[in-house]
Symmetry: C2
Subunit: 316 residues, 2 copies
Amino acid sequence: MLDRIPTLEDIQDCAQRIQSIIHHTPVLTCGNLDEVSGAQIFFKCENFQKIGAFKMRGASSAGTLLNDEARQKGLATHSSGNHGQAVALTAKMLGVPAYIVMPENAPSVKKNAVKGYGAQVIECESTAAGRQNMLDKVVVNTGAHFISPYNDYGVIAGQATAVVELLEEVPGLEIMITPLGGGGLMAGAALACHYLQPSIEVIGGEPKNADDGYRSFRSGKIEPLATEVTIADGLRSPLGDKTFGIIKEYVNDVVTVTEEEIIHAMRLIWERMKLVIEPSCAVPFAVVLQQPERFKDKKIGIILTGGNVDLTRLPF
Amino acid sequence: MLDRIPTLEDIQDCAQRIQSIIHHTPVLTCGNLDEVSGAQIFFKCENFQKIGAFKMRGASSAGTLLNDEARQKGLATHSSGNHGQAVALTAKMLGVPAYIVMPENAPSVKKNAVKGYGAQVIECESTAAGRQNMLDKVVVNTGAHFISPYNDYGVIAGQATAVVELLEEVPGLEIMITPLGGGGLMAGAALACHYLQPSIEVIGGEPKNADDGYRSFRSGKIEPLATEVTIADGLRSPLGDKTFGIIKEYVNDVVTVTEEEIIHAMRLIWERMKLVIEPSCAVPFAVVLQQPERFKDKKIGIILTGGNVDLTRLPF
């Protein structure tokens, strides 16, 4: 457990600790998308990360912070998405049990993905309360350590390592854009830039249909999540106190984009970059396309967060 | 024009000549696909190449072989696929005209892609004879230089550079697999391995539904293309005398795969590697999956040839 806002040293320690667990992902550019956007964009390909998403960094960071005795009891979380897979694979790599709480109506493909890593899937009612109750039960019964999908300083330090790698590989970035959901990556990115290159403008991209981050950033307190549907389902999480505390301090702006803008940006990345990315992942590029004047000729870093998408249900 | 089977020096000259025109594409690996296949595979990502396919190498190689006077008259070819785009972009980068002959019933998206590079599209009847007649007319009228999609030593030298880069980046490869269509890449790969690492087993992968290469390889003479349909439409070309002459000599084996095997391999690469590839491009990996005993623990190089696929018409 890390019980403070990660320092630069905490993030560097984390990078060391997870080095053998995660992939050092490549940074790709695309002349065609630079032309289309008028900017110069460096895409950090966390869709190539283990389990297909940056979440592997945060989960392995939190898991490796535990001492041997705590690890042996296992890792637990609630998630039917990338974080569940990340915790499951972290546990597998550490040789300890994993308990993943999922709504009973989650698609079996998601349950099977987690089971494929040797984790135990525990079904719960498909409500926030049902999920929390079941997770509490699991933690009490097993002694497993709960890893939050984002509201955990160890997780935030892990996500920050993606941005540190990007800053190291590409000197002179002027803007850094990440998607904003629960805020783990956003907070990690803000810290990494603050410590290593404070002149960078750090921007969060959010679906208009899940604009709680945008509203919170402006009001200065955590606003509730709207109930609207967005194709960027990975970003439908409320902020946490730990992530928002950092975001409030170190993020420069939050921009929202429409569903159509997300799908258009996603399609361009598929067609021109030949990369499979999930909708949430397209949000930062959608932000750039939305405001060509603002980003004209700027040197921009974007974290491509993940590529786990159902190929039989594409929006185009 | 190159009027002999490319020597190693010819290929190296070509690499120099096209260096500023093409991308040096990355080599990616995927732990998950290694597990699935039992082999150790290094994927050379020509789907990231300019115009989204390795064809850019061959076209730019042939184009840059011309002297200034010849260049000024322009480049011509017949192709509604990647080669047409490659010739169009080469001409654009050289600042000369391009004339691309296409069947009148070719999808407008393909015509527009070529027009987008500033080339002139000339429509023809949708038959082999109609195409040839129109091309001949264009060449006579304009004096443009015809660049064959594959049956040209300059083109073959260009395709060989992809394999040279892969051999330079990954030492110790034991097997090299490329798709086999008209044979340009296959011939280039065979030459590159022959010159630089002759111990490598060079294998062509072909759709069962377009197995003229397989039959030709076995009979020792160019066999006609069958008329069956394959999803790997990029491989529905007859061999040429120049490509087959090299293939007969330096390729070790040709393996055919079914439509189902191609689609399965394609889907795995999309899902696990997060790469958009076209069906033709999946054929070499389908070969590996078909014969697990043969390829077990082998260190294999595969050229991912291209990523130009209609996202609204996927086979899964």
